[in-house]
Symmetry: C2
Subunit: 391 residues, 2 copies
Amino acid sequence: MGFKITNRALIVELSPVEEISRIAKQVKVINFASGNPDFQLIPVSEVVEFVRSVATKWGAKSLMYPGMGGIEDLKIEIREFAERIGVNIGNDDIVVTCGAQHAFKILSDVLVDHNVTIFCENPTFYETLIPLRINAKRVIGIPLDSSGIVTYELEKLLKIYKSEYNILYLIPTCHNPTGVTMSIERRKHVLELASKYDLTILEDDPYRPITTNTPPPLKSLDREGRVIYIGSLSKVFAPGLRIGWITASKDLAYRIALFEQLDFATSTFTQYIALEALRSGFIYNYMLKLADHYRGKMKAMLKVLSDFMPCNVEWTKPCGGFFLMLTAQGFDAELSLAEAIRNGVIYVPTRKFYVSDERRETLRLSITQPTVEEMIKGVEILSHIIKRSRA
Amino acid sequence: MGFKITNRALIVELSPVEEISRIAKQVKVINFASGNPDFQLIPVSEVVEFVRSVATKWGAKSLMYPGMGGIEDLKIEIREFAERIGVNIGNDDIVVTCGAQHAFKILSDVLVDHNVTIFCENPTFYETLIPLRINAKRVIGIPLDSSGIVTYELEKLLKIYKSEYNILYLIPTCHNPTGVTMSIERRKHVLELASKYDLTILEDDPYRPITTNTPPPLKSLDREGRVIYIGSLSKVFAPGLRIGWITASKDLAYRIALFEQLDFATSTFTQYIALEALRSGFIYNYMLKLADHYRGKMKAMLKVLSDFMPCNVEWTKPCGGFFLMLTAQGFDAELSLAEAIRNGVIYVPTRKFYVSDERRETLRLSITQPTVEEMIKGVEILSHIIKRSRA
């Protein structure tokens, strides 16, 4: 028999990230596509140790049904962790989620309906935007430059839509896919605009734990309780454990936790593993190492690009995070992907990351998997393909 | 600032199960309320061993982002497991979820909108119904007796609503909260009605792995592809790992997996733990032990009830599962709960499990936590409270 699929499900497509990651698993190529942390730096044996501690300390309790909103002890540790990375939670409460993506699905269900307009950077991360988009009236993308979202463009559009209930979704630090980090001036301006136009801000901030010297999160600059902060342990510990968190005012956090009951997806066991990793101090040491490591890799990648890329190719210059975005005029990143794979390199075309004004000539490069040697080889291959496609 | 909460979030209340479980954690009482498996039978040290195997065999891969729809190797093992417990999956595909509850949230988003009427047993499990209910046009409860849902009552209502798209949500085996298992005749009749009235059936079947001699699942009797089967490892392994699964036709399974991308909640790590537990054969041995254990406990509880309960108190007589439902005319299970706790026993009042015709005189008793001695003591206390409340 045929099943009737809801409209909200019919509009969901295969994520371009998932699509490319499936290909990447099947071919042996230099992987500029991965959103995963560096395979070499996943603390596998430490996780085994944490599991032993969890079993000893909490026994069967660690394998029972989770309570609503997350384990209290973990919430205390996350609060401490947040403070250590510069996130001022104040009187807000924490809700533990199965990673940031799960947080956005729940936040969308709790805050977004057909009256809500979502503003976001253009391009933005395809996967987190989708759950917001399926419930929203419309999504409006705002261009970003090397200092982050262009706030005067944002204001132009806010003036048009000011009578509506608007939500601003932002990845201000190590933006995905561009790698851009928003300047302190822009951050302050965003908050001024939020106040003036009564905006709610969703701050998606997974890279903060593995970066240093970044401007404070919007959350810490927020004096009006407008910012809902979404954090994650995926980059700083292990994405496969699916541990993320939302901070929100007590009332709203309670609503979010109530709604989270509907899927009851948060694993008690992985929460206890995260609790051990935080409480033991492991993550605090590890994150310094990771910040060094990824900063070094990003620096190497930027050097390689400037050594090998032909003229008229531009790329962002991130100071941290996993990604940068490359723009090659006259190049079609989707059309040329098959050739790139045949030649030994894979990347993520970013056309679908655009909310509007799609740009086929853009692609996302990840620095997490390739070694410096692979970066050189991979960028050489890519630069040949770009040149050939223009010839 | 105040946030605008969507209507779908505003209607979500604290689950009565969560509410009672919070109280149960704070008081030292005989626990007839728990939905958890028996604490004594959670395989903690085995899980630690599985984690060591996972780390050795898959290393960092087990801690990376999950792929869409679940790990392929786990899906193969779940197919085998399903066949071993009598679920004929045929050509259907499997989607791995974070437990059955997560499955119902996604199924609701994919299949239920404001045109859909949900039929279900009355009472039914509060928590799984909520995600279906928030998207549906209406929910209609059908009474059940000791053979399961009363199919001629179901047909009466289907005649009224036959022009609509209807979904039938059922817990045919060891129903929650009543413990009733639907007879084979009723199962066949349900499928006849499904065919005649073009119904989609959601079969929620978490207790099958820990029961024996139960009638085949609706899924195995279904010749028209009407049944979407939802299984879980929560009762047979560990609920805190959050591993559940949906079987559906290839097209529908793909839609479900696409939608699951929106929350991306499924932990890679716990999926690998489940894979090891299944592949090693552990679960196949364990489930026989569990079936024996819970059958013995249920039998003991039924004996204790018939020994100590006053007249005019009735209860269901489940052959397996975790729960039975007790009906005490003239008793208000919610009103008397505080007194019960003061006297050393906790249970779940089931008024809120009713879709309509709420019955305050009903309550759910779980057999998982109390020993036989505690059962005797707890039932004595409960019977005194019932008697007193009637005096």
